[in-house]
Subunit: 252 residues, 2 copies
DNA sequence: CGGCAAATTGACTCCACTCAAAGGAGGTGG
DNA sequence: CCACCTCCTTTGAGTGGAGTCAATTTGCCG
């Protein structure tokens, strides 16, 4: 059966990636992710509980609203979008998630996932069984600290989007936020690819798709950016920072 | 000197409240707050690290942006507002906090407070030195679980306000959210006092003060609520729920 | 009673949305 | 390899919900 084949393939892939030494202890995202701050010994213990997912195709869900929560997911490669659908059927994009970032934190309290997570391109993730993580955290102070830190960071970030900002402010902040996150991952801070369609950016920032298009256009005319479809280059970082006046903003 | 008198009074009050057995182990907010899920023995250990603040006057700050983070605060009585001021000097209200709720969670990551917390009326709080809490959490699994739970809940809630909703939807959701939280605290779910001025409600919901006023007025005309200054009565809960169509909303 | 901040009310404005249509880009199948 | 389809993006025109500005009214407190 196809299903069995898929499972076999999946299993094969998992072994493969494990063998390819993609473990926390020598992961390039180590210092952005859960393992940050752990020493050699503790890293080994973390490695023992972290599992690797196979390849996730663009459009596949990592989890959906209502799913039983049993693990946190760390983005290993690719980009994910989290979103909800409200009673009226409207989608609300909650965030975009780059390698090293954690998904599922909002599900701990209720033991059920509160949002959907979908891959925006070919992606992969690490699976961190929450039970195991908490048990380990109780024994490894630096891991406990890091978990609290990650949760707290998430709360602090969500405040950034709370404000009542204009379309220009929001988009400038969004681009700068992405830029900031790309730097930390060793990519260019000024030239990158928008993995997400305009519609998702707009929805995330509470704007209409057309508004995003228009503002990008205006930014380009004003020499702030150069944009061609999904490819974007930040030309005038200072100018963008002036626009994104909000103090906190690390929006993205 | 007046200052010394105030301090003496403060100190006296602190002793008083301690003697009045306001400890986690017999606090009426026990099941909404940090102590939830702890057994008798563990509660005693928690009591040993939790300190009580004196009375906090309306308008006093519990902490401010940039303050060194060393403790979480649990609201014991009264109501707090958290807010930030952006680069352009605009205030952004992040939330209103009722007894049993935790303040300062966003400061864990950076070890500095990321927002200001101000009392909206006469209030008091419990001080929970974070160092002590984490140490205890490593030894008391149910406490660690509860801390993760509280942080996660906070993240899940902040998603509720993220959406792009109309003024009506937001205000209806806001009122229902307050109602929900009052129920859990043993107060009337349909009749309560808005501790915060219109300006703060408006800012929190990203509306103009005038809009809040007008919507309240319209809600009243439509028989959804009865409002008189800060005193409010929810007349038609179903009607409000229909308006607050967003699935998640526990906004407040 | 007077002074002040909070809240309300009305008139007008504007930013971003909606509606509509026309180009691209990329993928699929014949 | 091309034709076709679909989705994404852009652009234009017009609208409307909420904001701004301004003037009152109300309640509170010294």
């Amino acid at each position: 059966m196809i299903c069995e084949e898929a499972l076999a393939l999946e299993s094969h892939r998992r072994l493969d990636t494990s063998r390819l030494c993609i473990a926390c202890s020598n992961c390039s995202l180590r210092d952005l992710c859960v393992p940050m701050g752990l020493d050699r010994q503790d890293l080994a213990r973390l490695d023992a509980v972290v599992q690797k997912s196979g390849t996730i195709q663009s459009g596949d869900h990592l989890f959906s609203v209502g799913d039983e929560f049993h693990a946190l997911y760390a983005v290993r490669s690719g980009c994910f979008k989290t979103y909800t659908i409200d009673r009226a059927g409207r989608e609300q994009v909650l965030g975009f998630h780059l390698p090293g970032e954690l998904l599922g934190l909002d599900a701990i309290a209720s033991a059920r996932h509160q949002c959907n997570a979908i891959a925006l391109d070919t992606a992969s993730s690490c699976v961190m069984p929450f039970q195991d993580i908490t048990q380990l955290a109780a024994q490894v102070p630096s891991l406990q600290r890091q978990m609290f830190r990650l949760l707290s960071e998430n709360i602090a970030q969500s405040h950034a989007l709370a404000g009542d900002y204009s379309a220009d402010e929001r988009l400038a902040a969004f681009l700068l936020g992405l830029s900031e996150r790309f730097i930390r991952r060793g990519y260019s801070s000024t030239e990158f690819n928008l993995t997400m369609p305009r519609r998702d950016i707009a929805n995330y920032l509470r704007l209409a798709t057309e508004t995003v298009s228009r503002v990008f256009n205006r930014f380009q005319k004003n020499g702030l950016i150069e944009v061609e479809r999904r490819q974007i280059r930040l030309v005038d970082l200072e100018g963008l920072r002036d626009l994104a006046s909000s103090a906190l903003l690390q929006v993205a």
